[in-house]
Homo-oligomer: 342 residues x 4
Amino acid sequence: MINVGVVGCGYWGPNLIRNFLESDATRTTMICDLDPERLAPMTRRYPAVRATTSYAEMLADTEVDAVAIATPVRTHFDLAMAALKAGKHVLIEKPMTETVAQARLLIEEAERRRLTLMVDHTFVYTGAVRRIRALVDSGDVGDVRYFDSIRVNLGLFQHDVDVIWDLAVHDLSILDYVLRQTPVEVSAVGANHIPGMPENIAYLTLFYDSGVIAHVNVNWLAPVKVRRTLIGGTRKMIIFDDLETSEKVKIYDSGITVTQDPEQIYQMLIGYRTGDMYAPKIDGKEALRVEVAHFADCVATGRRSETDGVAGLRLVSMLTAATESMKSRGRPVALSFEGVAP
Amino acid sequence: MINVGVVGCGYWGPNLIRNFLESDATRTTMICDLDPERLAPMTRRYPAVRATTSYAEMLADTEVDAVAIATPVRTHFDLAMAALKAGKHVLIEKPMTETVAQARLLIEEAERRRLTLMVDHTFVYTGAVRRIRALVDSGDVGDVRYFDSIRVNLGLFQHDVDVIWDLAVHDLSILDYVLRQTPVEVSAVGANHIPGMPENIAYLTLFYDSGVIAHVNVNWLAPVKVRRTLIGGTRKMIIFDDLETSEKVKIYDSGITVTQDPEQIYQMLIGYRTGDMYAPKIDGKEALRVEVAHFADCVATGRRSETDGVAGLRLVSMLTAATESMKSRGRPVALSFEGVAP
Amino acid sequence: MINVGVVGCGYWGPNLIRNFLESDATRTTMICDLDPERLAPMTRRYPAVRATTSYAEMLADTEVDAVAIATPVRTHFDLAMAALKAGKHVLIEKPMTETVAQARLLIEEAERRRLTLMVDHTFVYTGAVRRIRALVDSGDVGDVRYFDSIRVNLGLFQHDVDVIWDLAVHDLSILDYVLRQTPVEVSAVGANHIPGMPENIAYLTLFYDSGVIAHVNVNWLAPVKVRRTLIGGTRKMIIFDDLETSEKVKIYDSGITVTQDPEQIYQMLIGYRTGDMYAPKIDGKEALRVEVAHFADCVATGRRSETDGVAGLRLVSMLTAATESMKSRGRPVALSFEGVAP
Amino acid sequence: MINVGVVGCGYWGPNLIRNFLESDATRTTMICDLDPERLAPMTRRYPAVRATTSYAEMLADTEVDAVAIATPVRTHFDLAMAALKAGKHVLIEKPMTETVAQARLLIEEAERRRLTLMVDHTFVYTGAVRRIRALVDSGDVGDVRYFDSIRVNLGLFQHDVDVIWDLAVHDLSILDYVLRQTPVEVSAVGANHIPGMPENIAYLTLFYDSGVIAHVNVNWLAPVKVRRTLIGGTRKMIIFDDLETSEKVKIYDSGITVTQDPEQIYQMLIGYRTGDMYAPKIDGKEALRVEVAHFADCVATGRRSETDGVAGLRLVSMLTAATESMKSRGRPVALSFEGVAP
């Protein structure tokens, strides 16, 4: 039984608190937030969990084995470093840190102390994304040629980071997990439509030496929510629509064919899709439940997590470069993943 | 009654032939194709229409008032210039020409001879796009902030131009017509997945001095067909889904609101859309039928078309710059529309 | 603050427990189930709530003001009558009772003792259904002509009642609430595909003197879940799709027109819908939360509930007659609602 | 080459005219309509086809081998009988005749003269329905348990028959073709909302000795068009949605399971579908084109059509009984198919 302290009781923290409580392998021992008003509803719901506004108190508590950090990005590094130095295992919200250098320091500290350092790339623990990786790994899809993701949210926001750091981070975590490749260059564009706020719409493109091109479209100001990823392979293509209730993952038979036959061209022009389609039943278990079990397993066995600090660093690296490219309207920025490739 | 000669009986030509025949104001007098096998099914269906493999013969025919050009892009300039020089009005398939210089020469020639020069930007003549422009013009939408279009086709193709010239041209024609603004810079990226073929996937972004950002996602190798455009305004947002049978245009009440209220943030995170939605019934008339009537009217009255040579030139300019940017992985390319703004 | 005891901790009970806890006006004081294994997870989650396997104990408890009954239908009458006799207000799961006579006895007992007797017709408390009734009441819809509802579930079940009592009860509760009319005759058909189990598929039709026809299609063995209700009025028509995330209620301009004009006929045949469509944003609050507040208000003020025992009796009456008609393959059965009309 | 005369140039006739012209095995030689204004646009489009307002003239023409009848139902018998007596093969629009007796006379006359008598049950010739029958025949679906079809049209009509004869006839033709069984009883209900017009909404249920139950929901006054058929088998279930562009036929793995396990029950309640889903690519060829080729083959070889007069008679029998049941609000009417079973 691993005792977990959760810091940050805003939007995501309560999900961590609940899942650490409901797991057989973990327990939420303590919760922490600077704002007592955020603690109150939690203690009302879970009277057995201790609450504090002092992070130092949580770290000093010897009962606490691990700390889960669900606070704003700019606080991640300090909170995580302090936790590691206090000998606690760490689960950290994504994006892992504000800079690649910070991520590297956390990785080194965790390795030195043989502590688990894991980043909460939640999508990696969904039945849908795991199924997609299995499909790609099996070779059924052929060679992946492109990855094209849309993640747009409704027209209301309050954020301290731009839309790339807030939304694209999800797509990049899926991309990183499914593709097992690292990009060599990124080009990003975006716009800021509200004075004094960060970019609220952005498009980023990642280039890979293998010929893969990956594109992510993120937007905070859309009238409807969309979460859809298209993965094009030489033998099959996949559509992952996270808002679909009954057909989250669709797999299409659709090898790429080049033809000179005008009749076939015409068929293409009037058709609506190619080949048969197959939609496997997806495991609907809550991703965080799977992730919490995995975290407990890593802590207990010392095994390396599928979304360890190195995976977290790769994402921070892509996000940083994308933001840089966005400032110059798409000028490509080179990326290097030496020593941190998957 | 305007007598029209149609050159090119491939995919699109037959639609022109039929529409010029069915209009009260026009008649298809003659058809022309280098390949007699393409003429045969047309003459079988329309025995009263004369067929020829000689374009010179069509131009020499004094009965022919206007020529409609539905041949590959690389032939547009020569065929259109010859038609104008023979005193014929011209309707030309999009994209208008291969270069801006060619477009300019055609415009000048047509003006000198007081002939109608029109480009077949078909989408401009759909009930949906006309309705969208009316909405934007009325001020209901507020200030347009972004335009985001996806046009992906099924995995089979044979083309002499890249996917930008083949597909994005449609989105740019809608954008140009609806927005009435000209972009100042373009950044484009793309990839070619089939050796010896042009780029089959591309993303282009247009920047406007007004703060508008426009993005177009085009792809020949998708498992399903998608044609969807999102227009975000400060007061309303529009979704145009051309494959929707009953709700092609949806208008959402969704002004942009910035809030610090965590309850509202939470509502946003779990919501699926903002505000009421309204889907007007759209005029379902065939666009080409509307366009043919408009062309006949321009020829008869000398009025300037809504998709005249200048509109055609603007699109060629954007396409050319996008292709250039794509070669350097998104490096932005400046655009100038002096003297050709809408 | 009204203290509530909840009896039955199966599928629905936990929702009642949670909502009575979270409401400002009520509190879950006690829970009861014959099976201690069903009580255990509840007491783990809510340590402050007392648990018992003895219903008598709950009724004897003077702290308990009201009892919420979420047990199988066949136990409703005895449990509710005992509660009323113990002076408790009662919220009872739908269908209210097994027979009309039982429903009548409960109504009389509650009236005699001036206790609140309410039936949990949950759908009546959804934003969507309340919005639909407001639309019908306003006259915008014109005269309602038909009500057509589909409610089909996935292929797995364990039930002690047939599909009419399990699923159609929801549609009848919506119908009863929205229409404010009572049917005069019912015809029902159905089939039982699993030996020893009740009917798993059924269709019922209700006839009204006003000319309204209402039809409900219920099925436990469908491959996909469907919950969709169509309401046809002389001026507008409504589609309520409960599984739609962003457009639960759609209102169509579509007066009924009779024409001899072949062109219009043709337009109808190729069209996909008539008139404009409007989808208001629907209040997404949890229905049970609204209902619990309403129950507390009825208890506190003595006001009559919108889904009181009489409404519950009307549904039991329709269900009983439908089951009877189903046994004779659709032979119509007369209904009478004297003294219990809405 | 079979020379066909088409009588009736209203809504459907032009489709027959075009398909008989475009087939290699047939030719539209002559067309006939009492109204010269309906003939005019046809002769303009097809100058080589002879037109007449005299049906007698068409029958007297020795060049005409076969007659296709696309006139109102009440005229079918007289026109078809006259054609057979003139030695012509006959393709007749559905429903075949107004009465079973008329259908029987036509079958006898055709058999006596060894002429092809075929009914235009168009859906039988679609790729989707043929695929569905193949699936059922293969045993993959297991035993069919129910057939549930919805066919609703937009709110505008002009008809001389009720909605059962106009719309349900399509569903019955699919049912008859796919199931290869005959029903023993029918219960139907309906309503007429426009004074002086036939029933515009109806629901019919067919009972089979095998335990199959079939239900058809038809409605002329709906706000949106729906055409969807659900076929439930013991091993798989099929959804046929004719308005779907890319997934007309979906096949679900969903055997019927009875369980006592509450965890499974809960999974069912929150799930959206059961099992994997597979959507084969469906042959998109125009049904009438396939049907015309089949008709030509029957005429040339004397082979019996899949939708011969006997199939037509079965449908007339079901329609007649349904209309009778509808008059008594669902009272079941017995059916007999002695000698005419599939």
